[in-house]
């Protein structure tokens, strides 16, 4: 005796088919999804970020009402622009700044990346395993790949970290507040919001996008300062008689330093009107401040006369010697390398 299937002959035996599923009629060809003709942007990382964020702005700023789902998606877009900025900046720094390059030399990348990336993009591979989902990660990335310590006020990292928690909710929980996120944001004020959805209003999105923009610009300026500071040491190193001030990369003459300075300026400045002061202005500010710091050292050195100062060496590098500024050569040469070459 055969078991009769219930119902009509048209019904399926698939007892898993609790919902309907549309079959794949076409599969994704991921290789066609990326724009092969796209050329690596010549813009600075900050300009690229601004451009991306501005494009996102145009998607909603002229609309009076936007749904909270759309604001969440836009929010993720802004965050993605931030992550992309960090990657671009670290990559550009490794290409441009010899100190950063030195630091990155010891880092490992996958064989696949080494084989297929072009030279310009290779530093990207260093960040394959880095995520920028908390301010700490970002600061650590700069430290480990470029050896700079960003000095950023806690008030700013705190705001970024709040946004990072919101991002986590959007990416992983369709905006609902998870327990870990609630703990990070402060249980006192968030304990009654578990599993409640994020509903960003138009004004909230305005605040989030503007906060992220300010955070990125803060990182940009802090990194610019840290990178430049390293090229012009004002604190003596060593002990006792060997204590000395490392030489700087700068001759303090704009015409002589222009070629080198422009490299740094281009990495961090924006070409948007009214955004960045002119290169010469920034050079003057930088050198004036460093000279003032050196004067302080001189006053200290007068009291302890055993600190020789690199900058005061009239015959030494870099004064009168611009060879260190040649293309592909030497911006680029950190102190120990300069020292080694002179020894040869």
């Amino acid at each position: 005796m055969t078991i009769q299937t219930p119902g009509s002959s048209t019904s399926s035996a698939d007892y898993s088919a609790i919902v309907k599923v549309t079959p794949f009629t076409k599969t994704l060809s991921t290789e066609t999804l990326f724009d092969k003709s796209h050329k690596l942007s010549k813009s600075s990382p900050i300009d690229e970020f601004i451009e991306n964020a501005n494009k996102l702005n145009l998607l909603w700023i002229n609309q009076d009402e936007i749904s909270s789902e759309f604001t969440s998606i836009l929010f993720l877009g802004y965050f993605s622009a931030v992550e992309s900025y960090v990657r671009a900046l670290v990559r550009t720094l490794i290409q441009t700044d010899i100190y950063s390059q030195k630091c990155a030399e010891n880092q490992q990348i996958t064989f696949g990346a080494a084989l297929h990336h072009n030279k310009q993009l290779l530093p990207e591979a260093l960040m394959d395993n880095h995520s920028f989902t908390a301010s700490e990660n970002i600061l650590k990335t700069f430290k480990s790949l470029t050896d700079i310590e960003l000095v950023i006020d806690e008030a700013i990292t705190t705001e970024l970290d709040k946004i990072c928690q919101l991002r986590h909710c959007c990416v992983h929980r369709f905006g609902k507040l998870g327990a870990k996120n609630a703990m990070a944001l402060g249980l006192t004020s968030h304990s009654n919001l578990f599993e409640k959805p994020l509903t960003l209003s138009r004004d909230d999105l305005l605040l989030v996008s503007s906060t992220l923009r300010s955070v990125v610009k803060t990182i940009n300026n802090a990194a610019y300062k840290a990178v430049l500071d390293r090229t012009f040491p004002t604190v003596p190193v060593g002990k006792g008689d060997k204590k000395r001030l490392p030489k700087s990369l700068w001759s303090k003459d704009y015409e002589a330093d222009k070629e080198l300075f422009i490299k740094y300026y281009k990495v961090f400045s924006s070409t948007n009107k009214g955004e960045s002061p002119k290169m010469k202005e920034m050079y003057t500010r930088f050198i004036a401040e460093k000279e003032q710091a050196l004067q302080k050292i001189s006053k200290g050195a007068a009291k302890k006369p055993n600190i020789p100062q690199g900058q005061d060496d009239a015959n030494g590098h870099p004064q009168g010697d611009t060879s260190h500024q040649q293309e592909n050569n030497a911006v680029d040469v950190p102190q120990e390398q300069v020292a080694q070459e002179s020894a040869k």
Binding site: I50, N54, V151, E154, A155, I156, A288
Partner: protein, 576 residues
């Protein structure tokens, strides 16, 4: 000789500011009058107070005088005088730092701590290093001074400095004030916070008054000096609830006006009594309740660079009127968004002066005068209200405190326009045969007419003028499209952030040679020997402006310092 050095002029330009005279000069040169005594008394009292008056009316003088009175009297409170006139140096951070408001907060508290410490140290009593350290909660005062200096130069902070900045809290500051009060054996402290009218940086102003509100305690009474015409002090500070206003701007209609002005000048000007009474009165009225202006005009008169008294007075009054209007117009440089309102405000001021002149001409036969004009409908038009407030802040209109209800409950706000402008317009010399200072003064001293002069906003402005009032916001710097609203953050056309420019940087780009008070000799020498210094910023941004100035033949250390002080005081004044 046109290009003589004329050092004295620089000295005079500097010494009329209370911030540049020594404590002894200030103490000896202070006049006493019921009006000022009352203000000093309020400053010493245990209550929150805002002292209100335009530039030059004596706010700094009275605050400094109050602090000097307390210095030598242990029964009086510890009077901590702090000037915030350098606040504008932090303004560039508003467009370059995400944490600008926090840094401003730190700067205000740090300045208060340093001033508290200095006030105690300046007392005759000697305290041990340990006692002082403990009172400071072990904060290193030189680190704090260094932090202040760095913030005033908008320099980025190191991690250590950021840590220090974050450790300076309101709680710590209050504790430090309390520690110093008790170490100095004082019953309580008063905080004399001068130059707190941060009208051009509303973000800082709100933060400042948040501190002002929160710092008060049964043992700490804050007082701040502000400009008239300011109605908003940030979201959480409501002056009428927190304390009171004390108006320092002496009204020309006050029965003691001439007496008070004379007593101030008599203390500060040699040979004051030898100046004829009608001249003293004429110039006192022209000074419009501003002692600094009065001193300046008397000194000008004493130079006797005129052929007749009438010509001399006319010139002094004219140049004073022009300078006040010029000062009002520079507001449009400091706050470009106010350009239209300022220009219309200037036209309005001329109109009000003319209306009063015509009214007084008509009153001439009756033997009365009128200095007031009542205007209705100001509060209904926010842009018009802003315009009046700006004229008040600039000291061009004196607001009469009480409101007058008339007829069908119509509300009139009453104002007196600057008397110098009225004098310049010959408002008090109608139909007089010949001219004399005495006739003018007698006319001003006449009784006030019972007949009021009244206008409404709609009669003062055409509807086109009213609808043209707007904030002048710059177009998007990226795509050039005009903004749609004043609060817009991003450009509606290209999505770019709408960035503001820094007023501080605008000030730094002003021509150096036009700084008021620089003598012709100095300007000529600057042009000739230091041609690269074209703007104020060119001079002040070099590492050591003094060394540069000393390159000029016959400019030594003292003269160089004076020039720098003059330029910096102009910057401070410009940015107030």
């Amino acid at each position: 000789m046109e290009t003589e050095i004329n050092e004295k002029e620089i000295d005079i330009a500097l010494e009329q500011r209370a911030d540049y005279i020594t404590s002894k000069e200030l103490k000896d040169g202070t006049a006493t009058s019921d009006f000022f005594d009352e203000i000093i008394l309020t400053l010493l009292k245990k209550q929150t107070t805002l002292i209100v008056g335009p530039r030059g009316c004596g706010k700094t003088h009275m605050m400094r005088y109050a602090s000097i009175l307390c210095k030598d009297d242990a029964k009086k409170p510890l009077a901590i005088y702090v000037s915030f006139n350098r606040y504008y140096r932090l303004e560039p951070m508003l467009i370059s730092r995400a944490n600008a408001i926090n840094l401003f907060h730190t700067w205000v508290l740090s300045r208060i701590i340093v001033a508290t410490h200095e006030t105690l140290v300046e007392q005759d009593e000697v305290f041990s290093e340990d006692e002082l350290q403990e009172a400071l909660e072990y904060i290193d005062i030189s680190d704090l001074q260094n932090l202040i200096a760095k913030l005033e130069r908008s320099l980025p902070l190191t991690q250590d400095e950021l840590d220090l900045a974050n450790s300076i809290t309101l709680h710590t500051t209050k504790k430090i004030i309390d520690n110093h009060t008790s170490l100095g054996s004082r019953p309580r402290a008063i905080l004399l916070l001068d130059d707190a009218a941060l009208t051009l940086t509303p973000e800082y102003m709100a933060e400042f008054f948040e501190i002002f509100r929160s710092i008060k305690s049964p043992y700490i009474s804050p007082k701040a000096s502000v400009y008239p015409g300011t109605t908003e002090y940030g979201a959480r500070f409501h002056p009428t609830q927190e304390g009171g206003f004390e108006h320092v701007w002496l009204s020309v209609s006050s029965p003691h006006y001439i007496e008070t002005m004379h007593s101030i000048a008599a203390h500060r000007i040699s040979d004051f009594s030898s100046i004829p009474d009608e001249i003293r009165q004429y110039l006192a009225y022209a000074a419009f309740g501003i002692p600094r202006a009065y001193l300046h005009m008397i000194i000008e008169f004493q130079k006797k660079k005129f052929s007749t008294v009438q010509q001399g007075l006319n010139r002094i009054v004219q140049s004073h009127t022009e300078a006040r209007i010029e000062e009002f117009l520079t507001l449009a440089i400091k706050a470009p968004k106010l350009k239209t309102i300022i220009e219309q405000g200037n036209a309005l001021f001329s109109k009000l002066v003319l209306l009063l002149k015509e009214f007084n001409d008509k009153l001439a036969p009756s033997g009365t005068k009128q200095l007031l004009i009542g205007i209705t409908g100001i509060k209904d038009q926010p842009m018009v209200e802003r315009m009046f407030n700006l004229l008040i802040e600039a000291g061009l209109l004196y607001p009469v405190a009480e409101k007058v209800s008339h007829g069908e409950d119509r509300k009139y706000d009453r104002y007196t326009p600057h008397i110098a402008a009225l004098l310049h317009e010959r408002a008090f010399s109608a139909k007089a045969r010949g001219w004399s200072a005495r006739i003018v003064v007698d006319k001003i001293n006449q009784k006030t007419s019972r007949q009021p002069l009244r206008r409404s906003v709609s009669s003062l402005f055409s509807s086109e003028e009213l609808s043209s009032l707007k904030f002048d916001l710059p177009a998007c710097s990226t795509c050039g499209k005009e903004r749609i609203t004043a609060t817009q953050k991003y450009c509606h056309h290209c999505g770019a952030e709408l960035l503001d420019s820094s007023t501080f940087e605008t000030c730094m780009s002003l021509p150096l040679h036009e700084v008021p008070g620089l003598t012709k000799w100095t300007v000529a020498k600057l042009k000739q020997e230091l041609p690269r210094f074209k703007t104020i910023g060119d001079l002040l941004s070099v590492q050591d402006p003094g060394t540069e100035l000393r390159k000029i033949h016959r400019v030594g250390q003292a003269r160089a310092e004076k020039i720098i002080r003059l330029v910096t005081s102009f910057v401070d004044e410009f940015l107030q």
